[in-house]
Each structure stands twice: as C-alpha cells, then as structure tokens.
Assembly symmetry: C2
C-alpha cells in the first residue's frame, strides 16, 4: 500500500539477504564451520565493508525483521531448555556472570585510565565490555543440537544475570552523565523490575503450567497455534523491553514457560519454519554493522587489539565460575565472549551523549563484532 | 539495533495487530462469517476510524509485513492451483476479465461525465474501478478449502488478465497526464513485458518441471526448504514488480510453478505456519486504511453509494463471461468485486497528480474497501 517501487526495493533486499545467508551458511557448513559464521560474513560482504548494498540502520524494516529473528531464536532456545535444570546450574551461572562482568569492566576501566581517558569515559568503555549476547553462542549450540548440554545451561543463566547487571551499570552511567550523581532509586527500580520479571516467569513456568496449558489448549483453534505461541513470545519480549531488559530475555522466558506444557514438541515443530526464515536475518544484519576498514584507521587498530584482548580474556576468566557442574570451563568462557545488542546499545549511547568519539565508537563496535565473529569456529570443537 | 524504545513500540503494535486479528477471526467464524471479515474489521477498529492505534502508512515495517502477507497468500493459492486446469478455463477467464473491466470503466466514466467531472477525471474514476484484487476472494475460498473449485480457477485467471489490462489503462492515463498524448510505445512495452512474464512462467511450469525439481532438490539441504520456496516467490514477486505488474501476480506464478514439482505437499505444509502469521497482517492493514467517518462528509455519501453501485454491478456483470465452464455466474461475479492494492495504487496516483480532490480520493478508497468488506459474507454461501 506504500509506493510500488519502495516495495520492490525491499523485496529485492530481503531476497538478496536471505539468498546470500542461505548460500554462505551452506558454504560454511561444507567448510566444517557453523552456518552462522557464513551468515555474518554474508552481512559483511553485503554491507558497507564491501558492496554497500545494505546500509546499517538504512531500512527500519530489515532492522525490525532481524530483531524478530533474534527474538524467535531465544524463544526456541527457551523451548529447548528446562527451567528445573537451569536452576540446578544456578550457582555456576551466578559466579560465571559475576566474574564475566567484573573482570572485563575492571581491565577495561584501568586500561582506559592508563591510556589517558577520563574517569567517566573509562567507566563507559568498561561497561560496554560487560554484557554477553547469547544469540551467536546459542546458535552454535543449536546448530550442533547441544542446547541441552551443561555448558549451554550455565551460559544461558549467566547471560540473563549478565544482562541485568549490565543494565544496572548502564543506568548508573546514565544517572552520572545526566545528574552528576549516582541515582540509587533508579538502580533499585531496574533491579526490582528485573528480579520480579524473572522470578514471575520462573514461578509461572513451574507452578501454573496446568493453567497455561488450558489457555493454550483453548486458543488452539484451527491454524492459530503458531500465532498463539508467537504472540506469547512477543508479549514477554515487549514486557522485558518496557522494564529496560533486552527483548530476548523476555522471549527466552516465554520459551521456558511453554516448554513446561504438553504442546512443547508441537510448538517447536511449527515455529521452526518461521524462525528458519527470520533468524539468518539477524546474523546478516550483525555483519552489515561491521565496517572492517575503519579498523585500519590510525590509532584504531591498536585500540581494537587491546580492547578485544580485554574482552576475550575477561570472559574466558568467567569460565572459572563453573562450580558444582560438569560444564567445561573453556567452553563456557568461550561461549560468554560474544557481545551483541546490549554492547551496541552501550556504544550508541556513548556516541549520542558525546562520551565516545567517532573513533572510540568504531573501535568498540569492531570489538563487539569481532567478539561475535571469532566465537563460532573456536567454540565448535568444544561443543562437539 | 535501532532504538530500544522504537523496537518496543513496533513489537507492541505487531502483538496488538496479530492478537486482535486472531481474536476477531475466531469471533467471525463463531458467527458463521469468514475469518477475513473479522480481520478487516479488527483493522477498522485499530485504525483511525475508531482507536487510531495504527495509522495508514504510519509504520513502513507493518506495511511491508502486510505486503509479504499477501505475497504468501497468493503463493499458497498458486501452490494449490493447477496450471493445466487454469488454462482449461482460459476462455471463461478472458471473457470475465474483459467484461469486468469494460462495464465498470464504461459506467464509471459516463456517470462521472454526467456528474460534471472533466474527461480526464472521468477516465481516472472509471480506471480505478477496473482492477480486481483476488486476495480477499481467495482467502474465502481458502478458508473453505475450495481453492480448486471451477469458480476459483475462473476468478484467478480473470484477475491476472484484469491486472494486466488495469496496468495498461494506468499507463495510458499516466501518458496522457504527463505528455498530453497517448504513448503507444509505453503501452506496447507493458503489454509485452506482461505477456512474456506470464507465458514464460506458464511455459516453465509446464515444460521445465523436471529441471526445477532437480534444483529444488539440490537446494534441499537441512532446514533450507521453506527458505528456498519463499525465495522463489520473492524473486518472481520482484520481477513482476519491476515489470510494473502487482507483486502478487509474480507470487501466484511462483506457486503455480512449484505446484508442478513433487515437493508441492511438503512446501505447502512448511509455508503454512509462516503464512498464518503474515496473511492476517494484510487484512488488518486493509481495514486500517478504511476511515468510515469520511463517508459521512457532505457530498461523499452520495458519491460513495453511486460508485459502489457501479463497482458491484460492473463486476457482477462479468459473471456472464462464464462460458464452457461449470463455474456459477453469481459466485464468479461476486468473487470479482473486491478492489484492493491496484485500486489503491490508482487512487493514490490520482491524489498525487491532482486528478482527484481529497473528497474524491476518500470516496474511491471507501468504495475500494467496502467492495472488499461486502464480499466475504455474500460469497460464502455460494462457495459452500
């Protein structure tokens, strides 16, 4: 109903993205690499780095479809997880998350101070390195049918806790930038919302399963099943977003809850064709955001290397938190490395408030993207 | 990767649209009406007519998702049609299409002249009433599992021919407005492109089936099947759009071609969950575009009534073209009534070039939407 030409351009872009994602994914698998690596590289090739056919933030439609993709991915991961087993590895997750936030933040902060950045910018750089994005990691586990492994459980739990801690740090930073002081009520509010949301989801998942089952069953009228499940994921994604959490935390919670119903298998089977279509969009778009050439600008290359080192070492250290679990520390540490949406939110915030210069922003975005790019090939042998 | 707040708003809108589409669709079926009627009414309620929660053209994302919806619908209809059987009812389709263009155009033109409009505006009004949009009609047939009925075949063929004739009329109109004269090469080009596109699609469908089958089979690597089929539909939709045809003509052709492969059942089964998600979006958005209140503005109500009468009578007359077929004339005539995207393209063109005043534009859009709204309840008893 908008211009026919505009529609044509969007259809072409969608076609090219999906076709190249599919082609690159198959090619990566032929080379014994995870498909997701091929998809990210397809994005790098389509994006400003090479062809410039797709521009970061150029099409709101593609950005949103990518967001739906990552929501569906974490919804599926939730459907294939089990809440009781996640709680069992709760202590390990908590330790992994805490180490995985503290070490990158500390190292990032002290390096930045040493490099001559101001106290506030140093906090900003440290904070950007804290949040884990499990999209890529879970895709590797999912590609290898290992979503139910001990490592995946620890990482999922840790990433959720990470997300909450990261958001608290961000709100502290926002408070300092805006008012010059630390806002304790603001921190309290985010903490309260997050805990209430997660505990409520978990409680519902464990206690109200029969009730939810009846609702889902009542809604199970002709060809509405996939929509009901999808709507549930969207609803929790929206609530998470409203609270200030990442949408994917809500989608993951929705999956966890529906996993407790008898319809689990049916939902997974019906949601797969939909997610197969959307999920690659997220990874292609992640590749589009990576401009490989800005890495070679003067001063940036060194900065990228050091920050990347901190980002990798900091999260590898988090593997040491694996206590009372069979999860291997290397695999967990590797799986915690990718930074994604949350890191990008931090970086964008820094750019818009003037905390980060263009160069610092580019360096951080490149680190975020490299952290995502290096994980699949490194992690794959450990997951197998 | 865009603003978290923006993403939140879009997720909420998508949730509300899908949830109300599902609710209204189920309610309509409980009242023995087609689900599509409920979905359109859900759009009217969400749109500016009542709540103003969704604005026409407000979100490019929703407009595009709706477009994907109607592409998937016609792709499915193609998959459930058969090219040989469509050709069998070719004569009836041609006659139905010709009458269905000539009568509304003639009546619309003469009424407009009588009402004091200029010659050019009269041509514009007549032309706007010509093109049939089979989305709603095919949804009624599809809801009742009657896509393979004689009536559906005649209507599908006629709608494709209609679309081509409608585009020729539009290009003539554009030519007159822009140059003051009729551009014969322009008309020839569109006619040539359209015929080549359709004949090529049909030829491929009939002759190259084994070859296509091998390609599809070769592409049938793990979890890529639904993407391959979807990509094929997108590709032909894009080609149709480039030629100047409606995207849905390309999607329908893609479905027709894949119907000839052995994978037909598998594709239908895997594409259904995807289309169940997208198709309702199209019909909700169609409802959003309908502002029921503008109908009661002075002068508009009368205009709407007369033009609606012409739109209905003109297409009902097209049912007389049913020769050498068992298709019932009433059902075919009713099925040809809905105007949709193509009619809206005409109306928008009129508004932007100044051919149509705001009032005339509103009247035409209301007629287009009413023509869509009245068909499901009228058609349902005939299809059953």
């Amino acid at each position: 109903m908008s211009g026919a030409e505009e529609i044509g351009v969007l259809i072409l872009k969608l076609f090219v993205i999906l076709a190249s994602a599919k082609f690159a994914g198959v090619l990566a698998e032929k080379l014994k690499q995870p498909a997701v690596l091929g998809e990210i590289l397809a994005g790098v090739i389509l994006g400003p780095s090479i062809f410039g056919f797709i521009q970061p933030g150029g099409e709101a439609v593609l950005t949103f479809l990518a967001e739906i993709g990552v929501i569906l991915l974490l919804f599926e991961v939730g459907l294939e997880s089990n809440i009781h087993q996640l709680l069992k590895s709760g202590l390990a997750s908590l330790l992994v998350a805490t180490i995985g936030v503290a070490v990158p933040f500390g190292l990032g902060y002290y390096y930045s101070i040493a490099a001559g950045f101001s106290n506030l910018v140093a906090i900003f750089i440290g904070a950007t390195l804290t949040a884990t994005s499990v999209g890529v990691t879970m895709r590797v586990f999912s590609d290898l049918n290992k979503v139910q492994s001990e490592e995946a459980k620890v990482i999922l739990g840790a990433a959720v806790i990470d997300d909450v801690i990261g958001l608290i740090i961000l709100s502290v930073l926002v408070g300092i930038v805006e008012t010059g002081t630390v806002s304790m009520p603001g921190i309290g509010k985010i903490l309260l919302y997050s805990v209430v949301f997660l505990v409520a989801s978990i409680a519902i998942g464990i206690r109200f399963t029969p009730f939810i089952f009846r609702i889902v069953h009542a809604l199970n009228i002709r060809r509405t099943f996939v929509i009901s499940a999808f709507l549930f994921a969207l609803a929790l994604a929206f609530v998470a977003n409203k609270i200030g959490l990442a949408t994917i935390v809500g989608a993951f919670a929705a999956g966890l809850i529906l996993e407790q119903t008898q319809h689990k298998e049916h939902i997974i089977e019906r949601i797969k064709p939909v997610s197969n279509l959307f999920v690659p969009l997220f990874f292609v778009m992640a590749g589009v955001y990576l401009n490989v050439w800005s890495m070679f600008e003067p001063g940036i290359f060194h900065l990228v290397l050091v920050i990347l080192g901190i980002a990798v070492v900091g999260k590898m250290a988090s593997g040491l938190g694996c206590v009372r679990t069979k999860a291997r520390r290397y695999a967990v540490g590797l799986g915690m490395i990718p930074r994604g949406e949350v890191g990008l939110i931090f970086a964008s915030y820094g750019l818009t408030t003037g905390l980060a210069t263009e160069a610092l922003y580019s360096a951080l975005v490149i680190v975020i993207m490299l952290s995502t790019l290096i994980v699949p090939p490194l992690l794959k042998p450990f997951v197998k």
